[in-house]
């Protein structure tokens, strides 16, 4: 009878071990998701090097299987074998070193890369021994039009900052805004009466209301793609209303001074002329002019003064 409970116990133990094994297997599979290779599009980029260095820029906006094809026409040495390897951002990629034969007066090398995240972007180079190098710069589409002069606005006023991606480049999935605080970036969230963000395809607009002195600084807009984000900076400068008031008041003071001076001068000048004219005709015409006309002349003079 003692052997009877040993067997089910043993079976239960076996079952538990098996289950645990199965469990860990399933757990393991969820921890390392395998993206099926067939879901990614494949792009081939090739470059031919005739000298010593060449740079090729590749713009990517979504995950791809990238095949890079390097061709080198060789140099004077024309070695039959040359060892080549790939580097990413200056560091050699493991398991990429191989030896290439000289065929048809050139060396050809191909390598596949899976570009799925922002870490995969960068500067890939195929290095031919110590002689030659072709650089492939993989990047998200860059925002072309950046405003190099700061946007100026006033305390208490509102300001609108624009970012625009060229429509020849792929449309960003969305846009995000950051405020640069030293080396950190703080994400700007929509707040009523303060921050408003409008995204429209290739354009984005950040409206900041009730500006204060702390709002001045550098703002970054980011065009978000599936593979990464492309950033651009805009500088915002907040000034008080006194700044433009200074030239305004200077010019206004000059205008008032000049106008008063000129009008005073003209008044004195015309009064002098009137007294001269009154004296001259009165001297000559005391006996000649009839009373009425003399009165008229004086009347005219006084009216003239009134007009000026």
């Amino acid at each position: 009878m003692s052997a009877s409970w040993k067997q089910p116990l043993f079976q239960i133990c076996l079952l538990c071990v098996c289950c645990r094994h199965i469990n860990t297997k399933t757990l393991g599979s969820t921890e390392v998701p395998q993206v099926p290779n067939t879901a990614l599009p494949t792009i081939v980029r090739s470059a031919v090097l005739k000298g010593e260095n060449h740079t090729e820029k590749i713009q990517l906006h979504e995950p791809v299987n990238l095949t890079l094809d390097c061709t080198w026409t060789g140099n004077k040495k024309k070695l039959p074998n040359i060892s080549v390897y790939w580097t990413k951002d200056g560091k050699e990629i493991q398991d990429t070193q191989r030896s290439v034969q000289l065929e048809n007066e050139q060396y050809t090398l191909k390598q596949d890369f899976r570009i799925v995240s922002e870490d995969n972007l960068g500067n890939y180079s195929c290095v031919f021994g110590t002689e030659a190098k072709i650089d492939f710069i993989l990047a998200v589409p860059q925002i072309g039009e950046t405003r190099d002069k700061p946007i100026v606005s006033y305390l208490g006023d509102s300001v609108v900052i624009y970012c625009k991606m060229e429509e020849t480049k792929p449309e960003p999935r969305t846009w995000i805004w950051y405020k640069a605080n030293g080396t950190d970036k703080i994400l700007i969230a929509v707040e009523p009466q303060r921050y408003e963000i409008h995204n429209e395809g290739w354009k984005t607009k950040l409206k900041i209301s009730n500006l204060t002195d702390e709002d001045s600084g550098s703002y970054c807009c980011g065009a978000v793609y599936r593979i990464g984000t492309s950033m651009s900076h805009v500088e915002l400068k907040i000034i008080s209303f006194i700044e433009p008031l200074k030239p305004f008041l200077t010019i206004l003071a000059e205008v008032i001074v000049l106008v008063t001076a000129i009008l005073l001068y003209e008044k004195i000048h015309s009064r002098k002329k009137n007294t001269e004219e009154e004296n001259v005709p009165n001297a000559h015409q005391k006996n000649e002019l009839p009373q009425g006309e003399a009165k008229e002349l004086e009347g005219n003079n006084s009216m003239r003064q009134r007009k000026v």
């Binding site: 006033y154 624009y162 000034i239 200077t250 205008v255 003209e266 005709p281 000026v308």
Partner: protein
């Protein structure tokens, strides 16, 4: 009274002296009005960003400003005649400055329409016509040169103000820039203070050139009383009111129809020149001129871009246009003052407008930068030429007395075509898909203007010649012909 005035010795236009100060003031007035109007378009990008509007909505500001400057020109000339040029320009400068000051605090695009469009435009209108009219009173012999220098203000002003306004926007944003610009426009008050009124001799008050009208008005020598209250702003204003205007001032008869009263106002008042066939022909030709002349300025750059010329080259074309405009102003003014050309001033004006029209007609054939440069040079030169000659030709036709009111009417006639023709040109571009139709329209309008003016002048002159044969010789001497009176040469 006439005897007393001659003893004053203030008869002839000085043709110099304080006249050059007046020319300088008119130059500043043109800078502050026309150049500032053109520079307002630099603010459009800022307005679009700040108010979230599109280009068409912001372009209305410029159209409103231009249109109200021209539409209110008669108001300006009326104020200049009734009171004085000085008062008109002072008030105008204040209004324009206030308008721009209000705009710098604008919270919506509609407020900008009112303050920067209508208010500022009214202020500019009060300044523009009186200043130009006063230059005509101060010059006789060198009138065209004086006008050339005075009108070159718009070209030189645009050239200088455009980068300054751009720099102001970068330093202070559009609000601060408008604030500083309003202080700059306040300099119109300084110019206004310098506009000293002048008294002119009766004979120089100018006569109706078409003799038939002189007879129908029933006055020949006694034209002079009508000079009172018109463009001279002199002591003539203070003379005893003439018989005709006494009739006007008398309480209107209850049975007199409104039409008869208006006719009396027209035929005997300040606006009697409106009935001159010469002036009517001139007015119709100005309508066509204004319809055609603004289109090339608006559509040259888009046309050049569509023909494959780069942005920088297209901007360079506009700069060439602007600079040669200034050259045309001054040199053509100087040229038409030469003794040999002075009798043919109207012909020179017709020639320059005709040449502009021809240039426009040939434009659709010019599809590269080296070909468009001569077009820009020629068009710019003749554009400057006719702009300098408009006040001269007007004063030749109506005389110095009515110059202020006539200029008011002339610029009023410019208003609606300026407002309407760029959108029509744009509609033509949209409908036909190319700029050919727009340039043809512009060229045709300019040529029509030249043809109408030469036709009307020819007919009037022929009628004048046939009438002068019938008249006794003594009255011939007193007719104001197109040839200048002997003393002015």
């Amino acid at each position: 009274m006439a005897a007393g005035k001659q003893r004053d010795g203030r008869g002839a236009p000085p043709d110099g002296g304080w006249g050059w100060v007046i020319v300088g003031c008119c130059f500043m007035v043109t800078v502050c009005t026309r150049a500032v109007t053109r520079c307002v378009s630099i603010f459009f990008v800022e307005f679009q960003t700040h108010f979230g509007a599109d280009y068409a909505a912001t372009a209305w500001i410029h159209s409103l400003l231009d249109c109200s400057t021209m539409l209110c020109a008669p108001v300006g000339s009326l104020v200049g005649s009734r009171w004085s040029c000085r008062a008109a320009v002072l008030v105008g400068g204040l209004l324009a400055s206030c308008g721009l000051l209000l705009s710098s605090f604008a919270t919506s695009l509609e407020m900008l329409y009112f303050s920067a469009g209508i208010l500022t435009g009214l202020g500019f209108a009060l300044c523009y016509t009186p200043a130009i009219a006063l230059v005509g009173c101060y010059f006789q012999r060198r009138k065209a040169l004086a006008y050339g220098v005075a009108m070159s203000g718009s070209g030189i002003g645009t050239f200088v103000l455009a980068p300054v306004v751009q720099m102001l926007i970068e330093l202070y944003s559009w609000r601060g820039a408008l604030l500083v610009l309003s202080a700059f426009v306040a300099n119109l008050c300084v110019c206004g203070a310098l506009l000293r009124p002048i008294a002119l001799q009766e004979q120089q008050c100018g006569r109706c050139s078409c003799q038939s009208h002189v007879h129908s008005a029933g006055q020949s020598e006694s034209d002079s009383p009508v000079c009172s209250g018109a463009g001279d702003h002199s002591q003539q204003d203070m003379e005893k009111p003439p018989k005709d205007s006494v009739d006007l001032l008398a309480p209107p008869e209850s049975s007199a129809p409104k039409l008869r009263r208006m006719w009396r106002l027209l035929s005997c008042g300040e606006y009697r020149f409106l009935l001159l066939p010469d002036f009517l022909g001139l007015a119709v030709s100005f309508l066509f001129l204004a319809s055609g002349c603004s289109l090339p300025f608006v559509y040259l750059v888009p046309y050049a871009l569509s023909a494959g010329i780069s942005h920088q080259h297209a901007a360079f074309l506009m700069s060439i246009l602007g600079v040669i405009d200034i050259v045309g102003n001054i040199t053509f003014g100087w040229l038409t003052d030469r003794r040999c050309l002075k009798p043919y001033r109207l012909a020179c004006y017709v020639f320059s407008v005709g040449m502009e029209g021809l240039c426009c007609l040939f434009t659709p054939l010019l599809r590269s930068f080296p070909l468009l440069v001569p077009f820009a040079v020629l068009y710019g030169y003749f554009d400057g030429a006719y702009v300098a000659l408009i006040p001269v030709v007007t004063s030749d036709v109506v005389g110095s007395t009515y110059l202020s009111s006539a200029l008011g009417v002339v610029y009023f006639l410019h208003a609606i075509p300026y407002l309407v023709s760029p959108p029509i040109g744009g509609w033509l571009v949209d409908v036909t898909g190319s700029y050919t139709a727009t340039f043809f329209l512009s060229g045709a309008a300019l040529l029509a203007s030249a043809v109408i003016l030469s036709a009307v002048t020819g007919i009037c002159r022929r009628r004048h010649q046939s009438d002068s044969v019938l008249l006794p010789s003594s009255e011939n001497r007193h007719q104001g012909t197109r040839a200048p009176p002997p003393q002015s040469v």
